[in-house]
């Protein structure tokens, strides 16, 4: 810890933070596997019409000559009860799962983060109201909430997403709230206050950057959970309606033909497993990278 200002030292090439993080990330095998799975799944979902062997099978195609065929070179994952290629339908099914995760977390995470920052920084009624609201929301299981909403409105994906997002933000609020409480008492926040920074500046420029890594970890882990909840809803017939291919719906449809035509529910089920696993590995890897402590 020398204070000598060495002009040469200042000119030395400096590894950028982004590069340092990338290097550490690339040394973590589980994180890389997770990232590869997630990136491949996203690319496959985007380019589904171009990479699948029978893109027309994503719709209402009937082909009884080929029904219930086991996995083979022609039909990699086998065919279903009306003769459609399951591999094609699994790839298209990723679209639904990823959209679900994107929309739910795309609304729940920013909203939850802002509520958490506000509740953590301001005392009194603001804090009490927001935090008691999260207590109530956390007492309701998301699946039950989605079932209730689907029963009241109609069973479709939009309503399920709404129901899940309406509960999911509270997790992020609690995470960000506890971090904000901790960061708020640090000297750099007081310094910013005495320097005349606005409340907006303190919340979004001073506190938020210190929460981003924890939010990224939690969001990545959440993707896996949201996809599982979405698949569960579809399995129960409350998600996407046929003929749009959806992983949960396919597992449910295939279960009628178990065990002799096992591939019809096993293959989409396996896709759900890999997708959720990919997000969880990525989340764990990010946690190791940022050294974020587990937040209860």
């Amino acid at each position: 810890m020398s204070d000598v200002v060495n002009p040469k030292a200042a000119e030395l090439p400096r590894l950028s933070n982004a590069y340092q993080n990338w290097y550490r990330f690339s040394r973590n095998p589980t994180a890389v596997i997770g990232a590869v799975i997630v990136v491949l799944a996203i690319l496959a979902a985007i380019f589904a019409p171009y990479i699948t062997p029978y893109p027309q099978h994503a719709g209402a195609v009937v082909n009884f000559r080929f029904r219930h065929l086991p996995p083979s070179g022609t039909f990699w994952f086998g065919t279903d009860d009306v003769g459609r290629d399951i591999f094609t339908r699994v790839i298209f099914g990723l679209r639904v799962s990823l959209t679900l995760a994107l929309v739910v977390l795309g609304t729940a995470v920013p909203f939850g983060t802002i509520m958490g920052l506000i509740a953590g920084y301001f005392d009194g009624w603001t804090e009490t109201i927001i935090m008691r609201l999260t207590d109530v929301a956390l007492a309701i299981p998301p699946l039950v909430m989605a079932l209730a909403v689907a029963a009241v409105l109609s069973p479709d994906l939009t309503h399920s997403m709404l129901a899940i997002a309406a509960l999911w933000w509270t997790w992020h609020t609690r995470l960000v709230y506890s971090m904000t409480r901790q960061i708020r008492s640090q000297e750099f926040i007081e310094a910013a206050e005495t320097l005349g920074a606005s409340k907006f500046h303190i919340l979004f420029r001073e506190i938020l950057p210190n929460c981003i890594s924890a939010i990224a970890v939690k969001t990545s882990l959440d993707c896996g959970f949201v996809i599982l909840v979405g698949a569960s809803l579809s399995f129960l017939g409350l998600g996407i309606q046929p003929p749009t291919p959806d992983l949960g719906t396919m597992v449910a449809a295939g279960s009628a033909f178990l065990p002799e035509h096992w591939w019809e529910s096993m293959m989409p089920g396996f896709a759900i497993l890999v997708l959720a696993l990919g997000f969880n590995l990525l989340g764990d890897g990010l946690r190791d990278l940022y050294d974020v402590q587990e937040v209860k």
Binding site: M1, S2, D3, V5, P7, A10, R14, N17, Q186, E187, F188, E190, A191, A192, E193, T194, L195, G196, A197, S198, H201, R205, E206, P209, N210, I212
Partner: protein, 296 residues
């Protein structure tokens, strides 16, 4: 006579002591009827052990804590009444104790230095130019603006904190133990920098420290704080050569000495069990002597 930069009159601060039911049962007098003033260009040292109320005084001057009673006048105008917070910030700024926590770890040095400049209403090119100027004033290379605090040494970080505090061109800088978190060799350089800046910018300093040896060289006048009260005040050489209060003597005696000459001018303190007594023990002993003058 010119108006002092800072004048403190009869300042009190009590913290309520609450019982388990949240009822106030007692009050801790952190600051007890403190008055002093700082002239233009003067360095006023506030000495005292931890818990003596030094930092509470600093926090009240900065508006981070509200006084129970008493007045804080800045350039003759009362902080409590009328003076807008924005106006005050341009006159008084603070350097915090620990440079490790007074700079946001997720923001670059340049971003941290922008805060006071933006609050002042500067924009665009002017901000960048001023950041370079400020870094130059604290003898740091301009490219430090892109660095993060963890890439800097403790002394460099404290220089940045000083640059941030002088950004608004204040009249008074409150230094709350600015060197206590630094190595001894680095301390002297930071003090030198403060002396230079003080002369150049006609700054007044309120220098808060428990380290009397630092204070002797740096402060023009000293106030010794014990349990929230100023027990002794005067020109720093006078206080050092002829301390009037036992507590001051004790503080001076506690400064480590190297040479025999230094040992010779060290004030004599009665030892208890062969060791330098605590302030409480020494003052209790003196009180006893006052009551029974014969026992000596």
């Amino acid at each position: 006579m010119t108006v002092p930069v800072l004048e403190i009159i009869g300042l009190n601060k009590g913290f309520p002591v609450k019982n388990g039911f949240g009822r106030t049962v007692d009050e801790v007098r952190a600051v007890d009827d403190v008055s002093f003033s700082i002239a233009k260009g003067e360095v006023y040292g506030l000495a005292g052990e931890s818990g003596s109320g030094k930092s509470t005084i600093a926090r009240m001057i900065m508006g981070l804590e509200r006084p129970t009673s008493g007045d804080i006048l800045i350039e003759g105008r009362n902080l409590g009444g009328g003076m807008a917070a924005a106006e005050k910030r341009k006159l008084v700024q603070m350097v915090f104790q620990n440079p490790g926590s007074s700079l946001n770890p997720r923001r670059t040095i340049g971003q941290s230095l922008r805060v006071p400049l933006e609050a002042m209403g500067l924009a665009g090119r002017k901000i960048d130019a001023r950041i370079g100027e400020l870094l130059d004033m604290v003898q740091l290379p301009a490219n430090f603006a892109e660095r993060f605090p963890h890439e800097l040494s403790g002394g460099q970080k404290q220089r940045v904190a000083i640059a941030r505090a002088i950004a608004v061109q204040p009249r008074l800088l409150v230094l709350d133990e600015p060197t206590s978190a630094l190595d001894v060799s680095v301390q002297a350089k930071v003090i030198d920098l403060l002396v230079d800046l003080g002369r150049e910018l006609e700054l007044s300093y309120l220098f808060i420290s428990h380290d009397l040896s630092l204070m002797r060289n740096f402060a023009d006048r000293i106030g010794v704080l014990y349990r929230g009260r100023i027990v002794e005040t005067g020109r720093s050489d006078a206080v050092f050569e002829n301390p009037a209060h036992d507590y001051t003597r004790l503080l001076i005696a506690s400064v480590p000495v190297v040479t025999a000459e230094e040992e010779a001018v060290r004030p004599k303190i009665p030892l208890i069990d062969g060791e330098i007594p605590t302030a409480e023990a020494l003052l209790a002993l003196r009180e006893q002597e006052r009551r029974n003058p014969t026992s000596e």
